[in-house]
Amino acid sequence: MAVCKMQRMNIFGLQEDRKAILERLQAWGVLEVNIPETGDGLATMDTTSSRQRYERRAQTLQQALEVLDRYAPEHKSLFATLAGKDQIGKDDYTEVCTRRHEIVAAAQQVLNREKEIGEHKAAISRLENQLEGLEPWMSLDVPMNFRGTASTSLFLGTIPGSWTQETLMEAIGAATPELTAQDVTILSIGRDYAYIAVLCLRDDAAKLEEALRSIGFARPSQLSDKTPADAQADLLAQRAGEEQKIADLEAALREQGGSRRDFQVLSDYFRIRADKYEVLGQLPQSSRTFLVSGYVPADQTKKLAGDLTDHYRAAVEIEELPEDEEAPVLLQNNHVGKMSEGIVKTFALPHSGEIDPSFFTTIFYIFFFGLMLSDAAYGAIISIACAFALLKFPRMGQNMKHSLQLFFWCGLSTVFWGVMFGGFFGDAVNVVSRTFFGHEITLKPVWFAPLEDPTKMLVYSMLFGMIHLYTGLLLKGYMCLRRKDFVGFIFDVVCWLLMLTGLILMLLPTEIFYGISQMRFNFSPALVQASKIMAIVGAAGILLMSARDKKNPLLRLALGAYDLYNITGWLSDALSYSRLLALGLATGVIAQVFNQMGSMFGGGVLGAILFTVVFVVGHVLNLAINLLGAYVHTCRLQYVEFYGKFYEGGGREFQPFHQQTNYVEIKEEI
């Protein structure tokens, strides 16, 4: 439970070793580059263009990988995210890197092929539009641009509106009564237009055209010299051609699926290079030398410095950080603390001078989580699932690993509380034995059943809560002592402890408390007296001293009184732990509801089948919902109630210069 101590390391090297040293640092991954202000003839180098070049290449490979994922999807299991990055040996890695030009060209080819597919798809949709345009003319057996023979004229076109043969003849007849020798055919009727062909004598053409125009006749826009049927066949052939091309390209892309691994490794290679150039751009350099400076965890400095001076001609100097410098924060914990580092990070990292609450967070997290879920079967399911994942995927990411370890223990805690409170899939044992075996077996709680005695559980919830809160206050005291702030320790911590303990001791023997808890406390008069004195001394200390930095005595008293008012905050914090009872009951009662529903079909084979269905669905649902509730509310108890007593946070995370990769992890012996 500690924040790792940081030291500053300054490395002075020769230009010729510059890239080698940076690569070494990147492989070590323990130095966060932080260049202090320098002057005196050192300049930084502009590496933006090289960096961007590498980023662009990484981008190209990334896009190629996305294309491959679409056309040659890799078979991934549901748990692939747990498996962690593939490891790659240094030799393999170097081998891939030497083929980089070839691989980038292949990636470019993937992208080009995808672009071509896009073009062919556009062509297909163009063809399909044309096919659709042909559809209404399909019953025509002359070419679309046919205008008539030597003595006849053909009018092909559309007229708006809905027509029949008769109404069309009538309309034409009404417009030009003198024409009689025309042949009118309606080819098809669309939604808005009728598609017509009108044949007449060549001499009458002008008059007929006028008549047709008067009812809105228009010639089609696309005229081909083929009959619609031929044109359609043509277009279909073209479409088939385009489709074949797409199929060929897709097959080629699928074949390139084999290069996926190369793409992944190389994209990581370019990412690492881009990061290196970014750092390079920050380094102060002279014509012959350069400087790297940054934070290194104190336990790593010796090893790193030794390694660098052994391999290169470089001067390495290690200095302690000045008091006022906010160093980046790296948490360093034993196995217990590590598990809840993620939960601490989600809230905030400790700022300089604060302690790392991970260890206590883990202990209380596991305790409260189990209390809220409190069902032995659910706990066993969680633990087994976590253990399975941990064993099956030993190389999963560190954060995921620690979370799963935490939930493994949370599961065990749930089993423990389930046994204490007699919950096993709610009251499944009772229901199953009663419904299917005729005689009821009761799973007796080892301690007591909260549903039968909720007030007892409520009192214990508050008790656990007070332990949690007191721990927070004691941690605050520990921080005061570490800062050598003894006045703060006495008046901000000890006085509160005195007053709270005194008040609790005064509350316990009262009738009110008996009324709630049915628990009778008979204190000796001396203890009663002592509790009163404790409360008064504590309150007086807070009243007089909590605003000790204020000169004005009245203001000081007023602020002291205001601080005393925080006692209501303690009350509401303590009441907040009643959620331990509420969520614990929720799990148990909903489980009972599902068991009850399942047992309504009665005994027998059919009853057993239906019971199983209801049981599985119901308990999966209940587990999911209560898991979420336990997770959220345990976090809340840590963040609001517990951290509220001592922890502020606000530190900046330690971000070392390392090989940040997306796909592979490079094994390197240092």
Binding site: L458, A582, A586, I590, V632
Partner: protein, 156 residues
Amino acid sequence: MSGIVYALIGIALAVTLAGCGSAIGVKIAGEAAAGVVSVDPSKFSKVLVLQLLPGTQGIYGLLVGFIALGKIGLLSGGGVDISVANGLLILAACLPIAVVGLVSAINQGKTAAASIGIVAKKPEQFGKSMLFPAMVETYAILALLVSILAVSGIQL
């Protein structure tokens, strides 16, 4: 005997009002969540957690309803003779979770929707975003507590 009518009204109110509140709350948060997923599907699991938060009030209502049903003996089939006074007591005991469940679930839904906004812009702040809706829920838990204590405390 007619006391059972009042008792059932109380149970119905607890389950119905708290359930309605949760339905509205989950709906409000779900709309916001759907918007986020439409832009960035990878945030699905995070926003789903936030969407589910206002769902607990419905469960609390069910919880109280179930305990009260057990109390008046409807679950075991044999009707207990319940006086009007006792029926009214159960009705009154159900009211805290009914009313607070309804109001807090709706407001928790709005808070959850706002928290989904946090996840959309700053996914790394997921832990904090989860806390805001959980604050609202505190009051539903307090109401649940009083309802449970009252229902189980009534001597029939």
